[in-house]
């Protein structure tokens, strides 16, 4: 850490830490079973609040510190077992956590709004007033943390300011804590004129002397205008490791005269000087901390990941030196070494790539962590009983993806709570357990992450979905759709099954926005449902936005890349399997569906090897619940490609999501399947064809 580290940076660290602490408090509070407080959990919660209070005061965020103090006081009582852990208390704590979070996140924007904090403080106070019997017996509330500052012990002769006689006989082992009496004497000498007289030296047996023991006693005489508090402070840490007698010297009259003035002086001086004072002595408030963005741009990396990276770089250097031998004198006998070196290089590169990507990877628990709370609150608001089960929360994915998947997930979870799960009465009547189950699963599948949101609610009413879709003109009146297609109609723009706008999920944002957000991340979402049994939403996402698992396809001289995520299958069809609809669009039959043929060479205006459908391949790709067959000349290899934006030096193009650089240094364009569909549509291709087999 460099010397010129800015205070603002340190304060920013405090903000980040506090946010983490609040997350811990929240999740641990959720773990608390009312009535039975687990002491470890309570301690964790308490410590987090305590740190926020302490840090807040240190960094000059008095509002935070003050409010955290109230929270801490109540927590301390619960921790000490003086107060029962009730649902009300936990609720109040959770609200306080929210409030602290709001306050913390706006710290850098200027003065904190304390309205909410004040309200909650009153509620906290009120709760404390209802002192449980234990709390009364323990002697009041709120002072526990600060009463034992050693310097604060008032003595009878506290008011005496003047000279003192001190008899000090430390215990033999006082040196073991490095409390050298000499240091204490030096400190006393700084207060006034000090005479020191050692006692007990005559009894020392130098033969058996243990230099680590202190066997002397001292008689000290301190002259000056010194208060008892100043002396107490000096001996504060050793007072129970010694025999200590402190007596005032001098006449009583002069003492009285000086009382009025000195008492106030003492009072003001003490909090600053006392080493163990609990009074916050804040550092100057930090004027301008960098904005605490919710999407924090820094990343905390486990040291193991960094070490792995360093090791790999080390290996790369070895490979490089091995290969550099071929620089000048090339000899065919060394061919095998060259080949070996290249193999090693490709392994190094692959491993390095994986390690670098791993640095950006974070467990999905960061996105899942908000759900226990959300499910609890939403369930309460709706009068539904919900059990949340979370699996695979350690599944890692790219930080950027993680940050952007949060909102769609919240929407889907809310949707399940709101529309999926039934009230206890309804569930009981249907012969189901009164408590509904909401399951969140995450796992890796190939290069993708799959997230499932499963509820055991009523399921999606397909008849109703279909009738609404017809009503809104999303489906032709006579069109017949498979169950799967119907279910996924809910993701279409302009579709919403809510009759009355709910407070929870009906916020003007439909499932189409969820689908679009997920599509923006290069993923897709599908729904499955069974009436009366529940629904399952499956989100499939790339692990990272920087690299894509691509299928290279060739059309004429051009190579394009299609994300493996969007490819359903690749088939070869004969021209006899193609139907022409309305003279323009070609359709081919894939099992029970007719899919339009999208001819890339026509769409892109390029030369293909052949325009005959028999000569090429159809890559069946899916986007937004629509499938198309992309006609290409040939498939090439599958490979991971690094995505480069086309926009950074050119502009966004419909149907193209970016570009990449292939092994030979040439640029290949990456297809955007939803964009291709739109492009196809714009160019007069017809997509709204009957989707069910008529053949």
């Amino acid at each position: 850490m460099s010397l010129d580290i800015d205070m603002a940076e340190i304060a920013q660290l405090f903000i980040e830490e506090s946010m983490e602490g609040l997350d811990i408090m929240e999740s641990e509070l959720m773990n608390l079973e009312p009535g039975a407080a687990d002491s470890e959990t309570m301690n964790t919660i308490f410590r987090a609040a305590h740190s926020i209070k302490g840090g807040g005061a240190t960094f000059g965020f008095a509002e935070i510190s003050e409010f955290a103090h109230h929270v801490e006081t109540l927590l301390d009582e619960m921790r000490q077992g003086q107060r029962a852990v009730t649902t009300e208390a936990v609720d109040l704590m959770l609200q306080s956590v929210d409030c602290l979070r709001d306050m913390t996140s706006t710290l850098s924007d200027g003065p904190t709004d304390t309205t909410r904090a004040k309200e909650l403080e009153i509620q906290l106070e009120t709760m404390m007033q209802h002192a449980s019997p234990v709390a009364v017996a323990a002697g009041g509330v709120g002072q526990k943390g600060s009463q034992d500052a050693p310097a604060g012990e008032p003595a009878d002769d506290n008011s005496h300011v003047g000279s003192w006689d001190i008899h000090f006989k430390p215990h033999a082992d006082i040196l073991r804590s490095c409390n050298d009496p000499l240091r204490i004497f030096r400190e006393l000498a700084s207060l006034g004129e000090l005479d020191v007289c050692a006692q007990g030296a005559e009894n020392l047996d130098f033969e058996k002397l243990d230099p680590e023991e202190c066997l002397l006693a001292w008689k000290l005489s301190l002259r000056g205008d010194i208060s008892r508090g100043q002396i107490d402070e000096t001996f504060a840490w050793v007072q129970d490791e010694c025999e200590l007698v402190i007596e005032p010297v001098g006449d009583a009259t002069s003492q009285d005269e000086s009382n009025a003035v000195d008492a106030s002086e003492e009072a003001s001086a003490e909090p600053v000087a006392a080493p163990a004072s609990n009074e916050p002595a804040p550092v100057k408030p930090v004027a301008k901390a960098p904005a605490a963005s919710q999407e924090s741009s820094s990343i905390r990396v486990n040291i193991d990941k960094v070490d792995a990276l360093i090791n790999l770089v080390g290996e790369l250097v070895i490979t490089q030196s091995m290969l550099s031998r071929f620089n000048g004198d090339y000899d065919f006998t060394q061919l095998h070494i060259l080949r070996e070196g290249l193999t090693q290089l490709s392994r190094n590169t692959r491993e390095l790539q994986e390690s670098v990507m791993a640095i950006r990877m974070l467990p999905i628990s960061f996105a899942f962590s908000r759900f226990p709370r959300l499910v609890r609150d939403t369930g309460n608001a709706l009068g539904k009983q919900v059990e949340l089960r979370v699996n695979g929360e350690n599944t890692e994915l790219d930080k950027t993806v993680l940050e952007k998947i949060g909102d769609p997930l919240v929407h889907l979870v809310r949707n399940s709570l709101d529309h999926g799960l039934e009230t206890p009465e309804v569930r009981k009547a249907a012969g189901k357990p009164e408590t509904g189950v909401l399951e969140l699963n995450a796992n890796h599948e190939g290069g993708n992450i799959v997230i499932e949101i499963i509820d055991d609610g009523a399921g999606i009413n397909k008849e109703r979905v279909l009738s609404i879709a017809r009503e809104r003109g999303l489906v032709e009146p006579d069109e017949e759709l498979s169950d799967e297609r119907i279910t996924n109609l809910i993701f279409m723009a302009g579709f919403s099954t809510v009759d009355k706008v709910s407070d929870l999920s009906g916020r003007g944002v439909g499932m189409d926005v969820v689908r679009r957000n997920i599509a923006d991340l290069g993923g897709h979402v599908t729904a499955q449902t069974e009436t009366g049994k529940g629904s399952k939403f499956t989100i499939r996402l790339p692990l990272t936005l920087a690299i894509l698992d691509g299928q290279l396809v060739r059309v004429g001289k051009e190579t394009y890349i299609i994300s493996l995520l969007s490819i359903v299958e690749t088939i070869q069809v004969g021209s006899d399997m193609i139907n022409k609809v309305a003279g323009s669009s070609e359709l081919f039959r894939l099992r029970d569906e007719y899919l339009p043929v999208v001819r890339l060479h026509e769409l892109f205006g390029i030369e293909a090897d052949s325009t005959n459908i028999d000569d090429g391949l159809l890559v069946v790709a899916e986007a937004n619940g629509q499938r198309i067959g992309i006609f290409v000349d040939d498939l090439q290899e599958q490979q991971q490609v690094v995505i480069k934006s086309l926009e950074s030096n050119y502009k966004q193009m419909l149907g193209i999501s970016g570009a990449t650089i292939l092994g030979d240094g040439t640029v290949a364009l990456i297809m955007d399947v939803p964009g291709l569909i739109q492009l196809f549509h714009n160019k007069g291709g017809k997509l709204d064809m009957p989707a069910t087999a008529t053949a």
Partner: protein
């Protein structure tokens, strides 16, 4: 007469200001010599075939890999609606930095050949007259005469307008 002349001079020199003075890299295009501000030039590289981007105007040849960056390549002859010629050994790509709407882009310009670097003072640069349609005046920053030759100084940022590039032009190109 002289007073009026002086006024005009002042006006034109003011108009040509906006640091038009400076060093210019010149290149040849269909027999004319053009100049671009040297500070905008990032590098000059030989012509290499680009990956075409579908549905773009004809003057957008495609994209090239420039040390890991994907850079669009513009054929200036086509951009200026001049007669196209086959690319030869002197054909080069001048990689320049363009700023449109606050967005900085790196773009390659294909020209017939590079020529010289000239240092021009403000007084040596005249405002562009109407070029009679062959070159849109908005590309032109001004004219200068050096060694009896006329230089056409280009306004780099105006060569390609990325916000409108496909709207009217590509419709034609696409059909």
């Amino acid at each position: 007469m002289t007073a009026l002349r002086k006024q005009v001079d002042e006006l034109t020199s003011q108009a040509a200001e906006g640091d038009a003075a400076g060093q210019y890299l010149t290149f040849l295009l269909a027999g004319e010599e053009y100049g671009v501000e040297i500070l905008r030039v990032q590098e000059i590289k030989g012509w290499d075939s680009a990956t075409p981007i579908p549905n773009t105007p004809e003057h957008v040849l495609g994209v090239l890999n420039l040390r890991g960056a994907v850079v669009p390549i513009i054929d200036l002859r086509k951009r200026f609606e001049l007669e196209s010629i086959p690319y030869g050994p002197t054909t080069v790509v001048i990689v320049v930095k363009m700023i449109n709407d606050g967005h900085e882009r790196t773009v390659g310009l294909v020209v017939d050949a590079v020529s010289e670097v000239y240092k021009l003072e403000t007084g040596e640069i005249q405002p562009a007259p109407d070029m009679g349609g062959s070159i849109n005046t908005e590309f032109v920053r001004g004219l200068a005469t050096v060694e009896e030759k006329m230089l056409i100084l280009l306004e780099v940022d105006e060569i390609v307008n990325f916000s409108t590039i496909d709207i009217d032009e590509s419709e034609e190109a696409a059909v």
